[in-house]
Amino acid sequence: MKMKGYTGKILKVDLTTEKSHARPFDEKHARKYLGGQGFAVEIVYHGVPKGADPLGPQNVLAMAGGVFDGFPVGTGGKVAFAAKSPATNTLAESIMGGSIGPELRHAGYDALEIVGKAESPSYLYIENERIEVKDAADLWGKDTRQVPEMLKKRHGWDVKVACIGVAGEKLSKIASIDCDDRQAGRAGLGAVMGSKNLKAIVIRGTNDLVPAEPKKLLGIAFRYQKIYEAAPSFIEDTKYGTGEFLGWINKEKGVFPTRNFQESVFAEREKIDPYYWAPKYVTKNKACFACTKPCGKLFEVKSGKFAGVAIDGIEYETLYSLGGACGNSDVESVARANELCDLLGMDTISAGVTIGFAMELMQRGIITEKDVGFKLTWDNASDAVPRMVEMMGNRRGFGDVLADGVKVAAKKIGKGAERYAVHTKGLEPPAYDVRGMKGHGLAYMTSTRGACHLRAGFYAPELVGKFWKWEGIDRASTANKGFMVSQTENFMCVYDSVGLCKFSRGFYLIAKLPEVIEAITGLTFTEDELLKIGERIHNMKGAFNAREGVTRKDWLLPPRILQDPIPEGPSKGQKISVEEMNTMLDDYMKARGWTMDGVPTPEKLKELDID
């Protein structure tokens, strides 16, 4: 094989028959899908039959390491998971920083395809060519820290473990997958593992990874090392983590969703701002595999009622979801709720937004203290939020109503609750109030996995005003947003396929990627060729979703965004009107070459060589 860097193999494991098979792929496959998200999406696109139950044995769980995984490229160790999502019924991927992607490649595979369903609780053990489905009876019911500890004691400290918590076992549609205290959180992929009776994936790889040009690669790595070290974001992220711009987004931009999007400036923000808490609680820096600009923080609570809490966090998104969105200004309580989410295996964004939603319902009298069992109120947030997380993860009491996210909860509760459920396609939104960021609002709709800040990453261009090839971007305008969002979506698909962290996207714009890819694989790409791959990946997801009946009618923004203007702060009065929404969607469909219903056309699919 001409290409280097890749292992050239995809491992398929059928949990029903316990049979496995490694199939080779060629250079053409690599050139078409690149790796990481591209490989994972291809596997799900071709592997999941139409109408398959996301929580049934026909669903496929794919996992793939990016092109850079295992190689010394700063922040280039991300792994992509993908499946048909139980939350959205769409093809959803979730990207994680845990070290299991690089380990998979050392074991000899670029991607893993898991099909079928194990008869009883099991875990998958992969040690190079040795593939076994093993009994996990003793692991069932254990949390995401106990599981790797037990497995490492059994198989040695060098194995890498990705696992689910109790929430995944109980098929919560907001369940996550955990590895090294990092999570593939979004769209309920943890429940897909749970539905397959798959508690954990354990990998040990001892093979060499050989780049095409080792010396050149080391030189490139060193060059970026220097660029990182000099960058302000390196210094800020390393000191304060990803919440570093929380103050700014509140005070300057006024788009920090608060109390279930009722407000967009959190008055008590200083209490959850890392500039305030980092010096007090952070005891060490943490990083993903291969990351040379660590944003991870070891957050430890040493005294008080939350004493003993120790997490890799608290990240910006979680400061919003379990903090501002729930009106929770007690940072120790946010940390505890974050820890419970991690241990039980639930996405912090979805869990927090769902709790904030229920809090608004109690505020409005739609649910009462009697329904919940305690005061799920803004003024009781510090106690109520962690308590509710615990109940959701275990599906206990009212926690069972909330365990599948806002869309399902609103339906179960009825009484007009839907009016306050903030989501698109069934996925709870991340920490940006898109009423004040129109393009980002479009991106929440077009994102193939539902409301997401990272499928297009359009918050960065809109908040900063420039990105990549554009300048003077006005966040209050709809002009050109359809085109720009489609382009940045393609960009992000490339990012997730090479395995780079999106916190590096300002450092390696697409034009910088070909030399790195070449040093590792020996394959040459132009910038346009890479973007074409990104377009292909996005179109495959779009075609899959259309096939499942998820079209434009299902993409629309929720009532809160369309009807209630932002009440105060720097973005006061802003919302996205139905007319603006439709204009942006029309523009987007044109830019994509899709029908106005959001369906990729046969011509487009042919142009992109998608079968």
Binding site: H106, D180, P211, T283, A290
Partner: protein, 149 residues
Amino acid sequence: MVKMLVPYPENCTGCRFCEMACTIYHDGKINHADARLQVHRRGVKVDFPSVCTHCVSCGEDCCVLHCPVEAIKKKDGMVYVDQEECTACGECVEVCPFGVMRMEEKAFNCDLCGGSPTCVKFCPMKAIVYEEPKPEQYEKVKKLLAVEE
């Protein structure tokens, strides 16, 4: 005073960049088991690099004393394996308290990259520093490694 690799576990993020840089520099390929230093992650609270270049680091238990054919030698205090004499018996790998004596066809260990340590160059957190030995830092690593057993 001679310079050595000094570990600062409190600074380490567990990124393992140093291991990758070490093997790619020496072998042109990546295999963490062949890195002349080892990074450990033991749960959310503990990440640390384990290094050893000179006898100062480990004191009594040094591989030099345990090698049955005296293939492990010292030059300016620095430990190296005489490739001619090494019989690949694995004794040194067994006794190395830092777990950094490696074995392929023959035993090998850190050579300080000829005086300009690659791992130090790439560690973003100054968790490995090339400086005069600090015995208390090696003690920290020994303690962390002991917990693991």
